[in-house]
Symmetry: C3
């Protein structure tokens, strides 16, 4: 059951190193605290190796990517994997520039990511970058819907097989997959897209779930996705008249703060494919 994963997380209280963008860095820190872990942020190459060495997991987020942080991403990513710790890649907006695409391709070549989490457009860009076949790519549209599911799941499994990473594709339906098993998750609300950083928060929280649930990578990643989605549902139920996306942000993080194994087991909506 996925509920075990968050109970393990609250017991372990892992320290999660985040190399992330300034836009959502505060929300990432607060959601990591909310789920029972502890955040530390460092993106200075002079600082990063020592900081990452005392951490239990690493979250690399490419949003607002800057040249000076790229070196640290490579250093920290390789170090964490040497230590046997989980590393998450969030390739934010990777299709937006060749600088981002080249950085992502380089990282995929040198760091053995535990999970790669993005929307379908970002995941497709990564797959193209490492030379995926045209036929498969052409079949994958920018939205994961009930209609496209049959085509997207094999693509995601294949990409997991080629990278060795669990692939988490989030959207109106979320997929969390290794090369053989795919969690199809139907938690969350469309209005979460009106809050900046729900994806960034999920990636940070996922690193925490992975650290506290070793050797259950697929399940831990799925539990993180269900936690975020269900928190979005709970938070929406608590919205008062006149509230909007700023209050919703707080209510989502608050719902993560109050999440436990029982709530998650009851609220998680998924099937295995």
């Amino acid at each position: 059951m996925l509920g075990d994963c968050i109970e393990n997380l609250r017991k372990a209280g892992p320290l999660v190193h985040n190399i992330t963008n300034a836009v959502t860095i505060n929300d990432v820190a607060n959601v990591i605290l909310a789920c029972g872990a502890r955040p530390i942020m460092s993106d200075e190459p002079a600082d990063i190796l020592e900081v990452t060495s005392i951490c239990d997991a690493l979250n690399i987020n490419m949003g607002q990517l800057k040249k000076y942080t790229v070196e640290g991403m490579f250093l920290a990513g390789k170090k964490q994997r040497q230590l046997g710790h989980p590393v998450v890649l969030d390739p934010v907006g990777v299709g937006a520039s060749s600088f981002r695409r080249e950085t992502a391709t380089g990282l995929l070549g040198e760091v053995d990511f535990t999970v790669i989490r993005g929307n379908i457009s970002e995941i497709r860009t990564l797959a193209l970058g490492i030379g995926n076949t045209a036929g498969v790519d052409a079949a994958v549209q920018d939205r994961v819907t009930e209609e496209t599911l049959e085509r997207v799941i094999p693509f995601v499994k294949a990409f997991s097989g080629r990278t060795g990473s669990v692939i988490a594709v989030t959207g109106s339906i979320d997929l969390v997959s290794d090369s053989s098993t795919c969690y199809v998750i139907r938690n969350g609300r469309q209005e979460m897209g009106k809050v900046t950083g729900t994806g960034c928060m999920l990636s940070g929280m996922m690193a925490a779930f992975l650290a506290a649930n070793p050797e259950r990578e697929l399940e831990a990643a799925a539990a993180a996705v269900c936690t975020m989605g269900h928190a979005g549902e709970i938070g929406w139920c608590r919205m008062q008249e006149g509230e909007g996306n700023a209050s919703y942000r707080n209510r989502i993080i608050d719902a993560v703060y109050n999440m436990n194994g029982e709530i998650l087991n009851k609220g998680a909506k998924y099937e295995l494919r």
Copy 2:
């Protein structure tokens, strides 16, 4: 009617590129989502040209100005204008250092800004920087009040004439002016000054309004100012006992999220001079 402008914005959902400071960057992203647009942040010169090329508008904010971002401001500003898209300049604290003044003067020389938005002190600093006449400057004090209005409006119209930009001066009374027509706006509340970033949020939102209302620059800029001010009024009405500036920030963004043409038309308080 100004209400059309926000209705157009919600239909168009433009992508707004922001080069902005770390202090308020999260609020800028959330308010852009709240008004119906989509934000993207990039300030890395290696990334910025490609990112800005897929956007519909640009917001350049000089708060916490850093050397490494200046090059990107020039690149993105010129590119957006070549594409015929609106560009907003927010000269935050431009009077605080020669580095900021020189950057602003350089930008004014090379980028044909659609709107320049600041407080009266910032706007005056810019006017001095491009060699405004002493007589006019001397007449402009640091506050726009009913008493100083007669002197400030001609100054703002003249500065618009010289720059070719719409000038938006925000304070206890807000002015949005081209060289011939000035909106004198009396929305907003004094307590908004206790929330960091209400000016930054306005500039980001203004870029979105401009993108969705081409060839109505003056009206679109005025609609953005009225939206922010009226959201401040609505948000204040919803304050509960014991709340302060942190809750007020959320309530202002929430009110933008719930703003529509009808609410804006009823709430906007302005005259043309």
Copy 3:
């Protein structure tokens, strides 16, 4: 009475320069506004000397330390002390890397800090860095409790004596001490540790208290600590069902916004040792 200190602060409205991390920079700005002061953020060496020269106090925060900001810390720190203004050092995570330790040691050597504020682990790292005796260090554990108080207070007084700075150690019990007198403060709640940035906010606010209460450094620093701790108590009382750390953050800042001398005098819990 400590209540005078916040009344003086609301009257003076000092301008506080912050060189701080991106994680909590927005909260630092809002809490400085909440307590009646005005924040300005600049960390660009080309900008920093002019900015700091118009300010009344400086807050140097080493969180997420970056190479490019270090030069500015030295420049601004020395300039502010030449001007006779208070400077606070917040050595966030100073034990996490040699880059942070060396920067802190360098700063301690060149800037005569008014207050150094950190947790016991950070303060101990600083003391070791300037060559404290092993015997004293060994006695100081990573937590300040009723049991360890007898050993920690002499350590803190000795460190104040050696640095000439007021030392503020925050934790479950807070200590604010010069070389002879130590405020032992029992405000605050454990749940504040689940909100990122409560320490950063306190340091920014402390610089404001110091600026508005010259020649009462020890009392002003203690008043800032009691204000933050009591705001944490008030904010917690106002929490609604289903709320968590995101709402708590807002409620803490809101409580600072509504703090006055009377509330602080009634709520401050401290003894002198």
